[in-house]
């Protein structure tokens, strides 16, 4: 009797291990694309970029404050549309511990400066010349906005255009206590 039980257990374990191995393989290959993209609750990858104003922006320097990261390009119409609202709300929230940094994807300084001047916005902007920050955050569509909470975690990832009220509530969500 015991032997039979033992046999069942052995077989069960072997089958379970095999099924787990295959299950893991399928699961990870299925979610591979998504896993590489950072997710809510992940530690936001640190980076350092030099802004148009010559100032160096290092993410870890903002520890204890919220960071509103916005990736964009001049050819991206929705990026352009959400920018004035972002600029306005940044003026409101910057004294409450919310930082805004917009990151242009590898365009020339001329194009970026012209574009921002024409829009009449003056929020902090940096150009990701080697696309390495874009790679680290695995940015696919533009615009993509990453909300980083004061403890350095990814609070939310927004792809696509945001309205002014969206921007207010997002900035609100990463305001330090």
């Amino acid at each position: 009797m015991d032997k039979k039980k033992k046999r069942s257990i052995t077989r069960g374990i072997i089958l379970a291990v095999l099924v787990l191995a295959i299950g893991y393989t399928i699961y990870s290959s299925f979610t591979k694309e998504k896993v590489e993209v950072i997710q809510r609750g992940d530690q936001a990858p640190n980076f350092e970029l030099v802004g148009l104003n010559g100032e160096t922006y290092r993410l870890s320097d903002f520890n204890g404050e919220g960071v509103f990261l916005n990736f964009w390009g001049t050819w991206c119409e929705p990026c352009k549309r959400e920018m004035p609202a972002m600029d306005r709300q940044y003026e409101v929230f910057k004294d409450q511990g919310v930082n805004l940094l917009t990151i242009n994807i590898a365009q020339s300084e001329f194009e970026v400066e012209k574009f921002l001047n024409n829009l009449g916005v003056d929020f902090p902007t940096a150009i990701d010349k080697t696309k390495s920050v874009m790679t680290a955050y695995n940015i696919q569509p533009l615009p993509t906005t990453i909300l980083i909470s004061p403890d350095g975690k990814v609070e939310n990832i927004i792809t696509g255009e945001m309205s002014e009220s969206d921007i207010i509530s997002y900035m609100e969500s990463i305001k330090p206590e």
Binding site: M1, K3, K4, R7, S8, R11, G12, I14, L15, L18, V19, A21, I22, Y24, T25, I26, S28, S29, F30, K32, P45, N46, F47, E48, L49, R58, L59, G73, T74, W75, E77, I105, A106, Q107, S108, E109, F110, E111, K114, N118, A126, D128, K129, T130, K131, S132, V133, T135, A136
Partner: protein, 553 residues
């Protein structure tokens, strides 16, 4: 658990066909056979024994050879579907919609069906992977199910076998020896068989000679190789084990290498060379007028210092300079960068002449780097061109009259210039795009224009980044697979049982898992040497002709 107790007193597992101890046939089926079925040496195939719990049922499903063969056939057929049209990762399309369109435009409605069914990315679908996984389970379970009992029964072989076992072997001999007396027969048999490289064991009046037992393990070793291979493929999914990525890099650019954290690549130059021979007839027929000789990207590989962050570019250390050519990848730290693709003659810079429209006289040239334009281009103290705005991929004006750019790439550059000359110190505005010039509004006709003079082009190189740490495992798997195949194919397990009976007669039986001709030759030699009675092949009736032929040869 129930047991079958043999007449000899040995307890056998349920399902055993031939007693593990004395060799008596235990089932009605085995008893009725003229020649015993020696598959798995008559031991109980575990799965056939119990079929009670769910675990047993699943186990039995996977251990079935029929299921295994069906899985192989299904996998083969399904895999072949993936080769009908190109797989999605060979299609250069960024979005799902573009991919769907690709299959539709190239292959029509069948293409659309193919794409919608997921066959365009067949090998990554969960059900295909599940299929291969089930095949893996089948191989493992079937091997355990058959291999372990076979191993046990081969290991615990007794020398003396029962008459009913011996008589049911294909090759048997029974009778008096033809010369001398029986006291020396077993010694002579042992001596001869040892010379023939058999391992000989004796137990009283019985003798068992055996060789090539490991050949029986060939299929199991073979399966082990397959499983090792499958595990290697599975490990591709673990982070850091496998990278297959690609990048486009222009001449002069430095880019982070996807999949290779902390590394940057600079493209110094892309070289495309052709043979400068006259086109051959075949070339002309195919409309090809140049034969490629070399595709080469001269690159510099940089590594960022360990503590560097994404975005920092000031701490790059040169790792090496290399010329990547076809089949000569840049190799570093387990990664390899291959030359895969190229694009020639992308716009890099445009040169304009600041020209007086009336006289045609030029005040000087201005060259604009399309990837990095400047704010102004000074020709002399009183003459300069201010770049008011720039649109790298101009697509027209929006409803507010603003020029639009579709991409950041200079496919169709457009400029707004402000031309300041001694004649026009206030400046003149001009919008210039390819084959299109719009002059500043309100100021009337401009005196000057930016006349197009020429372009500089740049080449772009497409590289593939590969890293595969599972290759050693795949090689080992393939080696084990071939080893098992060789063992199972080129060696046979031969056994000879000899017993000196109480009436002075000799009984001999022989078995081999394959190559009966070979064992017969050895027994012929043995029979002559030890003066044994002539054996008969119990299956000879059917194969009479064939074996005679073999003997003559």
């Amino acid at each position: 658990m129930e047991k079958i107790v043999c007449t000899c007193g040995h307890e056998n597992a349920v399902g055993t066909k031939i007693c593990g101890n004395c060799g008596r046939p235990l089932t009605e089926e085995a008893k009725s056979q003229k020649v015993l079925d020696m598959k798995y040496d008559g031991s109980a195939i575990r799965s056939k024994t119990y079929n009670k719990s769910i675990v047993d049922k699943i186990w039995n499903f996977f251990s079935s050879v029929k299921v295994g063969v069906s899985l192989i056939i299904i996998t083969l057929v399904v895999s072949s579907f993936g080769t009908i049209f190109p797989q999605e990762f060979y299609v250069t399309a960024g979005t799902d919609a573009e991919r769907a369109l690709y299959y539709q435009t190239n292959y029509g409605s069948i293409g659309t069906l193919y794409y919608n069914l997921g066959l365009a990315d067949l090998y990554s679908t969960w059900w295909f992977q599940a299929l291969v996984g089930m095949l893996g389970i089948s191989i493992i379970v079937a091997s355990i199910d058959r291999g372990l009992p076979l191993h046990k029964s081969l290991k615990n072989q007794r020398v003396k076998r029962h008459e009913s076992f011996m008589r049911r072997q294909r090759i048997i001999a029974e009778g008096a020896i033809t010369k001398e007396d029986t006291s020396k027969t077993l010694d002579k048999v042992e001596e001869k068989l040892k010379k023939l490289n058999y391992k000989v064991r004796r137990d009283g009046t019985a003798l068992l000679a055996e060789k090539g037992r490991f050949a029986r393990y060939g299929p199991y070793i073979n399966h082990l190789g397959l499983i090792t291979f499958l595990v290697g493929v599975m490990l591709h999914q673990l982070p850091g084990m496998y990278v297959d990525d690609s990048m486009w890099i222009r001449e002069g650019e430095t880019r982070a290498i996807p999949g290779m954290n902390g590394y940057f690549l600079e493209n110094k130059q892309f070289i495309f060379e052709t043979h400068d021979n006259d086109p051959t007839t075949a070339q002309i027929q195919q409309g090809v007028n140049a034969v490629a000789k070399n595709y080469q990207t001269d690159v510099v590989l940089y590594k960022q210092s360990e503590d560097a962050l994404p975005g920092q570019t000031d701490q790059l250390e040169i790792v090496k300079e290399y010329s990547i050519r076809v089949n000569h990848p840049l190799e570093h730290d387990g990664f390899a960068l291959y030359q895969m693709d190229f694009r020639l003659n992308e716009l890099k810079a445009m040169t304009f002449s600041l020209t007086n429209k009336e006289t045609g006289a030029s005040l000087g040239d201005v060259t604009i780097d399309l990837r990095n334009p400047k704010k102004e281009y000074v020709i002399d103290e009183q003459t300069k061109v201010i770049l008011v705005n720039y649109f790298p991929d101009f697509t027209g004006f929006n409803d507010k009259g603003e020029p639009q750019t579709a991409t950041p790439n200079p496919n169709n550059p457009a400029f707004i210039f402000n031309m300041i000359t001694p004649d026009t110190p206030e400046g003149e505005i001009s919008f210039v795009a390819i084959q299109q010039t719009v002059e500043g509004s309100g100021t009337g006709e401009n005196l000057y224009k930016m006349s197009f003079k020429g372009v500089d082009t740049i080449n772009m190189s497409g590289l593939t980044i590969r890293m595969d740490k599972t290759i050693p495992l795949l090689v080992v798997g393939a080696f084990i697979f071939l080893l098992g195949l060789t063992i199972g194919s080129y060696w046979n397990h031969r056994r000879v049982w000899v017993e000196l009976l109480s009436d002075g007669n000799i009984r001999l039986a022989a078995h081999t898992n394959k190559n009966w001709f070979g064992i017969k030759k050895e027994i012929n030699v043995l029979t002559e040497y030890a003066h044994l009675p002539q054996y008969i092949d119990q299956l000879d009736d059917e194969d009479d002709e064939k074996i005679k032929k073999e003997t003559i040869e």
